[in-house]
Point group: C2
Chain length 155, copies 2
DNA sequence: AAATACCCTACCAAATTAGTATGGTATTAC
DNA sequence: GTAATACCATACTAATTTGGTAGGGTATTT
Protein backbone atom coordinates (compact mmCIF):
# COMPACT_ATOMS: atom_id res chain seq x y z
CA UNK A 1 0.00 0.00 0.00
CA UNK A 2 2.86 2.35 0.72
CA UNK A 3 0.79 4.59 2.90
CA UNK A 4 1.77 7.12 5.53
CA UNK A 5 0.42 6.53 9.03
CA UNK A 6 -2.92 7.90 10.08
CA UNK A 7 -1.28 9.95 12.80
CA UNK A 8 0.87 11.66 10.21
CA UNK A 9 -2.24 12.46 8.29
CA UNK A 10 -3.92 13.81 11.40
CA UNK A 11 -0.81 15.87 12.00
CA UNK A 12 -1.27 17.68 8.71
CA UNK A 13 -4.93 18.26 9.44
CA UNK A 14 -4.13 19.70 12.85
CA UNK A 15 -1.38 21.88 11.46
CA UNK A 16 -3.78 23.12 8.86
CA UNK A 17 -6.20 24.07 11.61
CA UNK A 18 -3.47 25.80 13.59
CA UNK A 19 -2.40 27.71 10.49
CA UNK A 20 -5.99 28.82 10.13
CA UNK A 21 -6.10 30.02 13.72
CA UNK A 22 -2.89 31.96 13.28
CA UNK A 23 -1.89 33.76 16.44
CA UNK A 24 -4.98 32.65 18.36
CA UNK A 25 -4.04 29.87 20.77
CA UNK A 26 -5.96 26.65 20.41
CA UNK A 27 -6.62 24.26 23.25
CA UNK A 28 -6.76 20.52 22.86
CA UNK A 29 -10.52 20.80 23.03
CA UNK A 30 -10.66 23.46 20.35
CA UNK A 31 -8.59 21.33 18.03
CA UNK A 32 -10.63 18.27 18.80
CA UNK A 33 -13.85 20.03 17.91
CA UNK A 34 -12.50 21.67 14.80
CA UNK A 35 -11.06 18.49 13.38
CA UNK A 36 -13.43 15.82 14.65
CA UNK A 37 -10.59 13.88 16.25
CA UNK A 38 -10.97 12.63 19.80
CA UNK A 39 -9.24 14.54 22.56
CA UNK A 40 -6.99 11.59 23.37
CA UNK A 41 -5.85 11.32 19.79
CA UNK A 42 -5.23 15.04 19.53
CA UNK A 43 -2.96 14.83 22.56
CA UNK A 44 -0.91 12.15 20.89
CA UNK A 45 -0.67 14.17 17.72
CA UNK A 46 0.36 17.30 19.57
CA UNK A 47 3.24 15.59 21.31
CA UNK A 48 4.84 14.66 18.02
CA UNK A 49 4.58 18.06 16.37
CA UNK A 50 5.57 19.93 19.54
CA UNK A 51 8.64 17.73 19.92
CA UNK A 52 9.50 18.39 16.30
CA UNK A 53 9.35 22.12 16.98
CA UNK A 54 6.57 22.75 14.50
CA UNK A 55 4.19 23.96 17.18
CA UNK A 56 4.62 25.93 20.39
CA UNK A 57 2.76 24.88 23.50
CA UNK A 58 1.89 26.98 26.50
CA UNK A 59 0.59 25.44 29.70
CA UNK A 60 -1.81 26.63 32.32
CA UNK A 61 -5.01 28.54 32.12
CA UNK A 62 -5.15 30.59 28.93
CA UNK A 63 -2.64 28.18 27.51
CA UNK A 64 -2.84 26.33 24.22
CA UNK A 65 -1.01 25.64 21.00
CA UNK A 66 0.22 27.95 18.32
CA UNK A 67 1.95 27.15 15.05
CA UNK A 68 5.67 27.85 15.39
CA UNK A 69 6.62 28.50 11.78
CA UNK A 70 5.03 29.98 8.70
CA UNK A 71 3.14 27.35 6.70
CA UNK A 72 5.58 27.88 3.85
CA UNK A 73 8.39 26.86 6.18
CA UNK A 74 6.89 23.52 7.11
CA UNK A 75 7.41 20.72 4.62
CA UNK A 76 5.47 17.51 4.33
CA UNK A 77 8.77 15.81 5.00
CA UNK A 78 9.01 17.59 8.35
CA UNK A 79 5.64 16.25 9.37
CA UNK A 80 6.25 12.74 8.13
CA UNK A 81 9.54 12.60 9.99
CA UNK A 82 7.96 14.01 13.12
CA UNK A 83 5.66 11.01 13.26
CA UNK A 84 7.51 8.22 11.54
CA UNK A 85 11.15 9.01 12.06
CA UNK A 86 13.66 9.00 9.23
CA UNK A 87 12.39 7.79 5.89
CA UNK A 88 14.05 4.70 4.50
CA UNK A 89 12.23 2.85 1.81
CA UNK A 90 14.29 -0.26 2.30
CA UNK A 91 16.38 -1.85 4.99
CA UNK A 92 19.54 -1.01 3.11
CA UNK A 93 18.75 2.68 2.84
CA UNK A 94 18.34 3.01 6.61
CA UNK A 95 21.06 4.47 8.76
CA UNK A 96 21.46 1.28 10.75
CA UNK A 97 21.42 -1.02 7.75
CA UNK A 98 20.86 -4.53 9.00
CA UNK A 99 20.28 -6.27 5.71
CA UNK A 100 22.39 -9.39 5.61
CA UNK A 101 22.83 -9.57 1.87
CA UNK A 102 23.86 -5.97 1.28
CA UNK A 103 27.29 -6.98 0.11
CA UNK A 104 26.08 -9.39 -2.51
CA UNK A 105 23.12 -7.25 -3.45
CA UNK A 106 23.88 -4.88 -6.26
CA UNK A 107 20.67 -2.95 -5.77
CA UNK A 108 21.61 -1.39 -2.48
CA UNK A 109 23.34 1.77 -3.65
CA UNK A 110 20.54 2.52 -6.03
CA UNK A 111 17.86 2.30 -3.39
CA UNK A 112 19.72 4.99 -1.53
CA UNK A 113 19.34 7.19 -4.56
CA UNK A 114 15.64 6.57 -4.89
CA UNK A 115 15.26 7.25 -1.21
CA UNK A 116 17.04 10.57 -1.57
CA UNK A 117 14.82 11.52 -4.43
CA UNK A 118 11.71 10.87 -2.38
CA UNK A 119 13.14 12.92 0.47
CA UNK A 120 13.68 15.88 -1.79
CA UNK A 121 10.26 15.69 -3.34
CA UNK A 122 8.52 15.57 0.02
CA UNK A 123 10.86 18.23 1.35
CA UNK A 124 9.82 20.59 -1.40
CA UNK A 125 6.13 20.37 -0.69
CA UNK A 126 5.14 22.73 2.11
CA UNK A 127 2.09 23.00 4.28
CA UNK A 128 1.29 26.14 2.38
CA UNK A 129 1.30 24.25 -0.90
CA UNK A 130 -1.20 21.69 0.22
CA UNK A 131 -3.42 24.26 1.89
CA UNK A 132 -3.62 26.70 -0.93
CA UNK A 133 -4.94 25.38 -4.25
CA UNK A 134 -3.59 28.41 -6.08
CA UNK A 135 0.01 27.62 -5.39
CA UNK A 136 -0.04 24.22 -7.03
CA UNK A 137 1.21 25.31 -10.40
CA UNK A 138 4.28 26.91 -9.02
CA UNK A 139 4.90 23.91 -6.84
CA UNK A 140 5.57 21.75 -9.84
CA UNK A 141 8.09 24.19 -11.16
CA UNK A 142 9.78 24.42 -7.84
CA UNK A 143 10.32 20.70 -7.76
CA UNK A 144 11.73 20.62 -11.24
CA UNK A 145 14.02 23.54 -10.52
CA UNK A 146 15.19 21.93 -7.35
CA UNK A 147 15.89 18.64 -9.07
CA UNK A 148 17.89 20.36 -11.77
CA UNK A 149 19.87 22.40 -9.33
CA UNK A 150 20.90 19.64 -7.02
CA UNK A 151 21.82 17.12 -9.71
CA UNK A 152 21.20 14.32 -7.25
CA UNK A 153 24.57 13.07 -6.21
CA UNK A 154 23.74 9.42 -6.04
CA UNK A 155 21.06 9.21 -8.64
CA UNK B 1 8.90 4.87 8.64
CA UNK B 2 7.35 5.00 5.20
CA UNK B 3 9.00 1.85 4.06
CA UNK B 4 8.09 -0.57 1.30
CA UNK B 5 7.39 -4.14 2.37
CA UNK B 6 10.15 -6.72 2.54
CA UNK B 7 8.37 -8.85 -0.01
CA UNK B 8 8.50 -5.98 -2.48
CA UNK B 9 12.17 -5.69 -1.83
CA UNK B 10 12.63 -9.42 -2.34
CA UNK B 11 10.69 -9.05 -5.56
CA UNK B 12 13.25 -6.65 -6.94
CA UNK B 13 16.08 -8.93 -5.89
CA UNK B 14 14.44 -11.91 -7.57
CA UNK B 15 13.72 -9.94 -10.73
CA UNK B 16 17.32 -8.86 -10.77
CA UNK B 17 18.35 -12.48 -10.60
CA UNK B 18 15.95 -13.44 -13.38
CA UNK B 19 17.24 -10.60 -15.52
CA UNK B 20 20.70 -11.99 -14.98
CA UNK B 21 19.63 -15.45 -16.05
CA UNK B 22 18.01 -14.08 -19.19
CA UNK B 23 16.46 -16.82 -21.28
CA UNK B 24 17.60 -19.61 -18.97
CA UNK B 25 14.68 -20.84 -16.92
CA UNK B 26 15.13 -20.72 -13.18
CA UNK B 27 13.43 -23.08 -10.77
CA UNK B 28 12.24 -22.08 -7.32
CA UNK B 29 15.30 -23.84 -5.95
CA UNK B 30 17.66 -22.00 -8.27
CA UNK B 31 16.25 -18.68 -7.20
CA UNK B 32 16.34 -19.64 -3.56
CA UNK B 33 20.01 -20.53 -3.77
CA UNK B 34 20.98 -17.50 -5.80
CA UNK B 35 19.23 -15.03 -3.54
CA UNK B 36 19.51 -16.65 -0.12
CA UNK B 37 15.76 -16.53 0.39
CA UNK B 38 13.95 -19.62 1.65
CA UNK B 39 12.05 -21.72 -0.86
CA UNK B 40 8.74 -20.95 0.82
CA UNK B 41 9.36 -17.24 0.62
CA UNK B 42 10.43 -17.45 -3.00
CA UNK B 43 7.14 -19.16 -3.82
CA UNK B 44 5.23 -16.30 -2.27
CA UNK B 45 7.29 -13.78 -4.15
CA UNK B 46 6.82 -15.57 -7.44
CA UNK B 47 3.07 -15.61 -7.18
CA UNK B 48 2.93 -11.83 -7.00
CA UNK B 49 5.21 -11.12 -9.91
CA UNK B 50 3.71 -13.86 -12.07
CA UNK B 51 0.21 -12.52 -11.41
CA UNK B 52 1.43 -9.07 -12.35
CA UNK B 53 2.71 -10.43 -15.66
CA UNK B 54 6.30 -9.50 -14.99
CA UNK B 55 7.46 -13.10 -15.07
CA UNK B 56 6.41 -16.14 -17.07
CA UNK B 57 6.04 -19.49 -15.35
CA UNK B 58 6.15 -22.91 -16.90
CA UNK B 59 5.08 -25.98 -15.00
CA UNK B 60 6.21 -29.56 -15.08
CA UNK B 61 9.58 -31.12 -15.46
CA UNK B 62 11.99 -28.74 -17.18
CA UNK B 63 9.74 -25.94 -16.03
CA UNK B 64 10.75 -22.75 -14.26
CA UNK B 65 10.50 -18.97 -14.39
CA UNK B 66 11.65 -16.53 -16.99
CA UNK B 67 11.46 -12.75 -16.96
CA UNK B 68 8.62 -11.61 -19.21
CA UNK B 69 9.80 -8.12 -20.15
CA UNK B 70 13.05 -6.35 -20.75
CA UNK B 71 14.45 -4.86 -17.54
CA UNK B 72 14.02 -1.40 -19.05
CA UNK B 73 10.29 -2.12 -19.38
CA UNK B 74 9.76 -2.94 -15.73
CA UNK B 75 9.37 0.01 -13.39
CA UNK B 76 9.81 0.07 -9.67
CA UNK B 77 6.18 1.14 -9.57
CA UNK B 78 5.16 -2.08 -11.32
CA UNK B 79 6.87 -4.11 -8.66
CA UNK B 80 5.56 -2.11 -5.74
CA UNK B 81 2.04 -2.39 -7.08
CA UNK B 82 2.44 -6.10 -7.70
CA UNK B 83 3.04 -6.61 -4.00
CA UNK B 84 1.24 -3.79 -2.28
CA UNK B 85 -1.60 -2.94 -4.59
CA UNK B 86 -2.34 0.59 -5.66
CA UNK B 87 -0.31 3.28 -3.98
CA UNK B 88 -2.29 5.74 -1.90
CA UNK B 89 -0.37 7.75 0.63
CA UNK B 90 -3.51 8.67 2.50
CA UNK B 91 -7.00 7.37 2.93
CA UNK B 92 -8.38 10.15 0.79
CA UNK B 93 -6.13 9.40 -2.16
CA UNK B 94 -7.32 5.80 -2.31
CA UNK B 95 -9.87 4.67 -4.85
CA UNK B 96 -12.31 3.63 -2.19
CA UNK B 97 -11.91 6.72 -0.08
CA UNK B 98 -13.43 6.01 3.30
CA UNK B 99 -12.22 9.05 5.15
CA UNK B 100 -15.14 10.55 6.99
CA UNK B 101 -13.94 14.10 7.00
CA UNK B 102 -13.04 14.38 3.33
CA UNK B 103 -15.73 16.97 2.72
CA UNK B 104 -14.60 19.28 5.45
CA UNK B 105 -10.91 18.60 4.85
CA UNK B 106 -9.37 20.98 2.39
CA UNK B 107 -6.22 18.92 2.08
CA UNK B 108 -7.77 16.02 0.25
CA UNK B 109 -7.39 17.22 -3.34
CA UNK B 110 -3.79 18.11 -2.76
CA UNK B 111 -2.86 14.73 -1.39
CA UNK B 112 -4.06 13.30 -4.65
CA UNK B 113 -1.53 15.47 -6.40
CA UNK B 114 1.32 14.42 -4.18
CA UNK B 115 0.29 10.84 -4.67
CA UNK B 116 0.39 11.27 -8.44
CA UNK B 117 3.82 12.78 -8.24
CA UNK B 118 5.14 9.82 -6.33
CA UNK B 119 3.56 7.46 -8.85
CA UNK B 120 5.33 9.18 -11.69
CA UNK B 121 8.68 9.21 -9.97
CA UNK B 122 8.52 5.52 -9.18
CA UNK B 123 7.11 4.78 -12.60
CA UNK B 124 10.11 6.38 -14.24
CA UNK B 125 12.67 4.28 -12.45
CA UNK B 126 13.12 0.94 -14.17
CA UNK B 127 14.67 -2.31 -13.13
CA UNK B 128 17.41 -1.55 -15.57
CA UNK B 129 18.13 1.73 -13.84
CA UNK B 130 18.61 0.20 -10.45
CA UNK B 131 20.65 -2.70 -11.80
CA UNK B 132 23.08 -0.73 -13.82
CA UNK B 133 25.14 1.89 -11.96
CA UNK B 134 26.14 3.53 -15.20
CA UNK B 135 22.64 4.59 -16.09
CA UNK B 136 22.08 6.65 -13.00
CA UNK B 137 23.08 9.97 -14.46
CA UNK B 138 20.66 9.73 -17.31
CA UNK B 139 17.97 8.58 -14.93
CA UNK B 140 17.91 11.91 -13.21
CA UNK B 141 17.48 13.71 -16.48
CA UNK B 142 14.73 11.40 -17.54
CA UNK B 143 12.77 12.21 -14.44
CA UNK B 144 13.18 15.92 -14.88
CA UNK B 145 12.21 15.72 -18.54
CA UNK B 146 9.20 13.67 -17.70
CA UNK B 147 8.09 16.07 -15.01
CA UNK B 148 8.42 19.00 -17.36
CA UNK B 149 6.56 17.27 -20.14
CA UNK B 150 3.56 16.15 -18.19
CA UNK B 151 3.06 19.36 -16.24
CA UNK B 152 1.31 17.41 -13.53
CA UNK B 153 -2.34 18.13 -14.00
CA UNK B 154 -3.32 18.16 -10.37
CA UNK B 155 -0.15 19.43 -8.88
C1' DA C 1 3.06 -43.64 -14.87
C1' DA C 2 6.47 -41.36 -12.40
C1' DA C 3 9.19 -37.47 -11.56
C1' DT C 4 9.57 -32.63 -11.64
C1' DA C 5 8.15 -28.22 -10.48
C1' DC C 6 4.66 -24.69 -10.30
C1' DC C 7 -0.08 -23.41 -7.84
C1' DC C 8 -3.35 -22.37 -4.22
C1' DT C 9 -5.02 -21.70 0.27
C1' DA C 10 -4.78 -21.39 4.84
C1' DC C 11 -2.49 -20.73 9.12
C1' DC C 12 0.56 -18.87 12.72
C1' DA C 13 3.73 -15.56 14.70
C1' DA C 14 5.76 -11.16 14.97
C1' DA C 15 5.73 -6.42 14.54
C1' DT C 16 3.55 -2.23 13.94
C1' DT C 17 -0.05 1.08 14.50
C1' DA C 18 -4.19 3.01 16.45
C1' DG C 19 -6.66 4.21 20.15
C1' DT C 20 -7.39 4.96 25.19
C1' DA C 21 -6.66 5.81 30.04
C1' DT C 22 -4.47 7.89 34.12
C1' DG C 23 -1.91 10.44 37.10
C1' DG C 24 1.39 14.49 37.03
C1' DT C 25 3.00 19.41 36.32
C1' DA C 26 2.99 24.21 34.94
C1' DT C 27 0.48 28.65 34.61
C1' DT C 28 -3.11 31.84 35.32
C1' DA C 29 -6.85 34.07 37.85
C1' DC C 30 -9.19 35.19 41.83
C1' DG D 1 -2.16 30.51 47.95
C1' DT D 2 -5.57 27.86 46.15
C1' DA D 3 -8.43 26.40 42.57
C1' DA D 4 -9.20 25.99 37.84
C1' DT D 5 -7.28 25.34 33.42
C1' DA D 6 -4.75 22.92 30.18
C1' DC D 7 -0.50 20.79 28.71
C1' DC D 8 2.80 16.49 29.73
C1' DA D 9 4.45 11.72 30.15
C1' DT D 10 3.82 7.02 30.27
C1' DA D 11 1.83 2.90 29.88
C1' DC D 12 -1.46 -0.38 28.22
C1' DT D 13 -4.69 -2.74 25.10
C1' DA D 14 -6.64 -3.95 20.78
C1' DA D 15 -6.59 -4.09 15.97
C1' DT D 16 -4.27 -4.43 11.79
C1' DT D 17 -0.68 -5.58 8.85
C1' DT D 18 3.24 -8.10 7.56
C1' DG D 19 6.37 -11.84 7.45
C1' DG D 20 7.17 -16.49 7.43
C1' DT D 21 5.63 -21.44 6.96
C1' DA D 22 3.17 -25.58 5.75
C1' DG D 23 0.61 -29.00 2.99
C1' DG D 24 -2.02 -30.80 -0.41
C1' DG D 25 -3.20 -30.05 -5.55
C1' DT D 26 -2.28 -29.65 -10.66
C1' DA D 27 0.20 -29.38 -14.96
C1' DT D 28 4.03 -30.93 -18.02
C1' DT D 29 7.73 -33.75 -19.51
C1' DT D 30 10.27 -38.03 -19.99
Amino acid sequence: MLRIGKLTDYGLVVLNQLALAGAVKQSTDDISQATGLTVATVRKVMKAIVDAGLVNAQRGSKGGYRIALAPAQISVLDVVQAFEGPISLTECSADDNQCEITDSCSLSSNWTGINDLLLRVLGDITLDDIRNPGVQDTLHHQIVDQLQRIQLVNL
